[in-house]
Amino acid sequence: MSDNILMKDYAEQLSRIATSLAVAKNDVVHGDVAAGQSCELVEMFTSGNLDKRGDKLDDQLEMFAEDLEELPSLISRYIREVPLAAYDTGTSDTDRFVRWLPTVIELTPEQRDLVLVIKSRFAVEETGRRNRLGHVRFQELVSLNDRLVSELESNDGLRIHLNPMRTRAVFETGLLIGEEESPEAGVEVLFFAFQTEVRTVILEPEGRALVQTLSDIGPCHLASLKKQLDLTTSFDDESLMEMLTDCSEVGLIAFS
């Protein structure tokens, strides 16, 4: 047999083995197992792998436990139906799980908000993965915030940077901000990276304007920011300073 045919056969064999063992369809590989070796051990192999996968999902979906009674059975269905993707990272399977979830059950608005939390945290991590240097550089700037925030009003040369590792989400309910009522327009939240963690802030209209402006024209000097905000909102100086101070404390903005 030519090398090409041998390699094609090999690729087919491995593909068949990997796709079936990924979801514990063990019988598919029984004919591949070496003579005299027990197929029960194939089962032990796949059940060990699925258990590990399930435990990880369990851990990362802890916040769902209270709101989704059937979570354990859904996890066990998911790991048998949807194979782990090639190059799965620490949290990518959980992100895929919450994307799969609405395809199999109808979610309540509260559950949809929890899904949004997981997706948003994952989105911030992925932004960090795509732009590692941007994250590290911004965190270096954040480490100077304590010192530079006091120069906000006096140093005309100070530039304001918006954290590039961020994503916006709108919750349907007040569940995650501890409010019983669901605000009509939803709750707008910004997820962003602070060192190795993902933080959140609720965006009120002023905050939204500030983030939007910095995103459009930043990094920029305070004067340009003020000018731009004056054109679009009714910000007064004092509340702007207060908001910039708060944002620098949580690591949403930084200075240089």
Binding site: A11, V33, A86, T196
Partner: protein
């Protein structure tokens, strides 16, 4: 610490539980598990301020026996962790975890069928990885398996040919060889003796598992102290590989020892390595 050129660098696979003793005088090396270090939001390097003679990055998803070489994104991420931490080597397992590039992961590596086709694919992938890593040496680890696929040659032949045709390093996991020999009834000493001459450079892993009465298998769980039989096999492996063993790492993932336990185990690893330098 004995800094003779022939004593391998010695240390632990880093876990949060052994970080506090990584400054032990018996330790001058560390292995970083890539998947643990690859936090996309990391700000500091995984090694923090540890200063060691030998650092190796251990990967889980190169899937060297897959039909296709690993993708660039994964290789680049691995390279970034290696550079950040000043690693002089990178390693992964002799097995496959996925089918193709856009395919699926099984969640753990299985051994390739010991066939010519698998050997060709494995060597081609190793060549690709070695080209990508340049001077950072790549080691391939013998895994512990629960079953094998039908093949046309022995594992020892497969590993020997792979080492000869690629020149990659051999990561001899002494406990894995012990586990496979126990479970599949072959002679661990003969296996090591036949493979070792084909390796240009060697790293070793040591760990402890347990014998599972139900499956009648030795399980390489990394949860126990290194058993006596593995210490003996380690001594033998050092003698067989004299002059080309670069580093030895102890792996522990569960049921962690106390501080004294961590220290005494690694000191024993060093003591035996230093004794093995002197020809009998």
């Amino acid at each position: 610490m004995n800094d003779s050129a022939t004593t391998p660098a010695i240390g632990y696979a880093i876990r949060e539980q052994n970080r506090p003793i990584m400054d032990d005088p018996a330790i001058n090396a560390a292995e970083i598990t890539f998947e643990r270090a690859d936090d996309p939001l990391r700000v500091d390097r995984y090694l923090q301020d540890l200063d060691l003679d030998h650092v190796s990055v251990h990967a889980l998803k190169l899937s060297v026996a897959s039909p296709e070489p690993p993708n660039e994104t994964y290789l680049e991420a691995l390279r970034a962790i290696a550079i950040e931490n000043g690693a002089s080597s990178v390693s992964d397992h002799l097995g496959f975890t996925r089918n193709g590039d856009n395919g699926v992961e099984m969640g753990h590596f299985a051994p390739p069928p010991w066939t010519e086709a698998a050997l060709t694919a494995t060597c081609r992938n190793i060549d690709h990885i070695q080209k990508r890593f340049g001077d950072t040496r790549f080691y391939v680890e013998t895994i512990a398996y629960m079953f094998e696929f039908q093949g046309t040659m022995s594992e020892a032949d497969f590993v020997s040919k792979m080492l000869k045709c690629t020149g990659c390093g051999w990561l001899l996991d002494v406990t894995n060889v012990y586990a496979n020999a126990t479970n599949f009834k072959f002679d661990a000493y003969e296996f090591i003796e036949s493979v070792m001459p084909n390796a240009e450079s060697v790293q070793m892993h040591l760990a402890g598992g347990f014998f599972d009465e139900q499956s009648k298998m030795y399980i390489d769980s990394h949860s126990e102290p290194i058993p006596d039989a593995v210490w003996d096999l380690y001594r033998f492996s050092l003698e067989q590989g004299r002059g080309k063993v670069d580093a030895v790492f102890v792996e522990r993932d569960q049921d962690f020892p106390d501080e004294a336990g961590w220290r005494s185990e690694i000191r024993r690893v060093r003591e035996i390595a230093e004794q093995a330098e002197v020809p009998a």
